[in-house]
Symmetry: C2
Subunit: 401 residues, 2 copies
């Protein structure tokens, strides 16, 4: 019988959202009459903007006629989309990125997992805690040593920069799950750390479009020196509702280098090009045409409206938590609100209480790491009326505790 990669045996048995789904399903079976409101899910709910829909219909029509048929596209994405990303997301903020540094893919989750293909298993990894569980699991599979960097209310959930040298550091801002953002000064501190230690920062800015505060950096490349030490991961999922359409991109500056056993310098841009050339065949043409429309004037205006809608929901959540006497943060530059459980209750216990007594699904904080214990995450991706109703139920439930 053939040998498996050992790391899989070290994984936790259940993925957070699978456990949530299991408990919700069990409750639904026991109480089928309860109208459940899902405030835990990270998926968008608003339909795709008309400008994007139009572009996708046109793309489908292209495929229907020989003269405009598109087969295999460039593995790293069509030039027009790479260029639109550069202009729309970087040049417009005064950041220099070359289109050849932008790799279009089927989403940030794929890229964040697959990027580990480039790194030796000897590299040590620093992961802020609490955080999106995928960073941890993918490194456990590979067997890398992980050092958690606890993030607390005191540091605004941006962690204390470690003394210890770590080879790879994951940062995610606006953060999932805390909804925290990182100040320019703090991000400068992380870039400085990486440059001093020869570390690589994997910067996940999937929620960038939610940033409202003009002082908060949208990209790590706003920080001097970041091109020498950081890759950036972006997604159209939360910016434009592409969770089901699948498109994202990763920026790998040409300056970014690793070394092999012989001490030779190797370009990560070239390595990723090779990896994707070997194991990927490009994102769907229809998805890429949709993503391109995100950068059109109509597309921009319409996607901005959706984000406004979700941020209004986040304001309802924050207000509701305050009324219920719960301490919360986030939700101002992010779709997520992070709150303390009442009276220090265990977060999985609170999950069960809210589900059974109020029919609300939240996400327990400890699912995102040890530092998430005693917290829970609410998301703004529901319908507004349902969000208001959920916060009323939460208020009543807590008053009855």
């Amino acid at each position: 019988m053939i040998r498996i990669k050992e790391g899989y045996c070290r994984l936790e048995h259940r993925y957070l959202f699978q456990e949530v789904a299991r408990r919700v399903a069990a409750f639904h079976e026991a109480s089928p009459e309860t109208d459940i409101i899902r405030m835990g899910i990270g998926d968008v709910t608003l339909p795709i903007a008309p400008a994007i829909i139009r572009a996708m219909h046109e793309a489908v029509d292209d495929l229907s006629v020989q003269e405009r048929f598109h087969g295999y596209g460039p593995e790293h994405g069509y030039g027009w989309l790479r260029e639109a990303v550069v202009q729309g997301d970087y040049a417009s903020r005064g950041i220099t990125v070359d289109p050849e540094e932008v790799f279009i893919s089927d989403g940030a989750k794929s890229d964040l997992g697959n990027i580990l293909d480039l790194f030796s298993e000897e590299n040590t990894v620093g992961i802020i805690d609490p955080v999106y569980p995928v960073y941890v699991d993918t490194n456990v599979i590979d067997g890398r040593r992980i050092k958690f960097i606890p993030c607390t209310e005191d540091d605004g959930f941006t962690g204390e920069i470690p003394d210890e040298k770590l080879d790879i550091v994951y940062l995610c801002y606006p953060n999932n799950p805390t909804g925290a953002v990182i100040s320019r000064a703090k991000l400068e501190g992380w870039v400085d750390y990486a440059l001093r230690n020869g570390s690589l920062i994997l910067y996940d800015s999937a929620y960038e479009a939610f940033i409202q505060d003009p002082d908060i950096p949208h990209s790590i490349y706003e920080i001097e020196g970041a091109r020498q030490c950081a890759m950036e991961f972006r997604s159209f999922s939360k910016t434009a509702g592409f969770t089901g359409i699948r498109c994202g991109y990763t920026v790998i500056p040409k300056e970014l280098r690793g070394r092999n056993r012989n001490g030779d310098d190797v370009s990560f841009n070239a390595l990723w090009e090779r990896r994707q050339g070997c194991k990927f065949n490009g994102a769907s043409y229809v998805s890429q045409r949709g993503a391109y429309a995100v950068y059109s004037p109509d597309g921009r205006e319409q996607t901005r409206e959706s984000i406004r809608y979700y941020l209004d929901n986040a304001a309802v959540i924050r207000e509701g938590l305050k009324r219920a006497g719960l301490h919360s943060s986030g939700g101002e530059n992010a779709p997520y609100v992070w709150a303390r459980t009442p009276g220090g209750m265990d977060d999985w216990e609170f999950f069960d209480v809210l589900l059974k007594k109020a029919g609300i699904v939240i996400t327990p904080g400890s699912g995102f790491g040890k530092a998430g214990r005693g917290y829970f995450r609410l998301t703004s991706f529901s319908d507004k009326a349902r969000t208001i109703e959920a916060m009323d139920r939460l208020y009543n439930c807590i008053n009855e505790l």
Copy 2:
């Protein structure tokens, strides 16, 4: 500076098709007036069938309204598509496959690369030669020991089953590049080999839809015992022209097991579910709806017509090669025709001759492995008139050699 995965430094510098593209571009620059006919490319050219186009438009419309909006889908594909695959590709041939054994993805190339995530680097690998270069490159990156299994005219390009125990064996039938198919008896031999040695067969049947001969197996699961020793990789790319739409699937029977260092049995079906749950977020909803339409009566009829068209081109190619006095095989149950160069000429040399003297692009056989030396591949994916023209040019060119 951080350490890269060593395997990348052992890769050949250039991927076959990149080298072909480089030579073609250089020639085009030197002789811009030459009308080049590309007979080397593995990409389809016919537009997508109307039934599929209709389904994709409907899918885009779904995304435009809240009630039918689809966000994150199941990571392993929608149930309706998994079920359609089971019914359309397996049950219809009397093969038992459970929908939970079918994993929908963005394409067979991604799956064939990513599947290696499951296996220890200690496993030895057998790869038939000549073959699709991706099997080799992905294993070189991981550092696995590769044993090539040369395939020759004498064995119908199906290789001699080795005495040596190999942990993982790649088979691809109908074959890229030789266009060869494998008989039931020979495939039974491979399954028997795998069962005796505890090996795993990775069976790439991306070109299955081209099989015309009723005696040739379409799936490895037609062979008894294959559920205990084989994964099967399929794609809608060549079946229905999805090279730009991106959808494929992998079948992993629940019986299929590996073991970890402690000797525990582990289900590969469960491991792949975990891997994809960690590093993949499902194929595009629009692509999946398109793939679903492939199984509708209209979709089946229309995609069959496209395959007929390509096979007619293959007949033109076979006839043209015969007229030019070149020995060839394949093209009867596959889109590829495989031929010997004239007078034992080196295949890259013949590539240059045909490009410069006839303006035809072929694929040199040695790009697919050592056993491909002195051969070249022609594909049937061009337009019919262009295919006829290319064969006329080839005839004249060879007569003038």
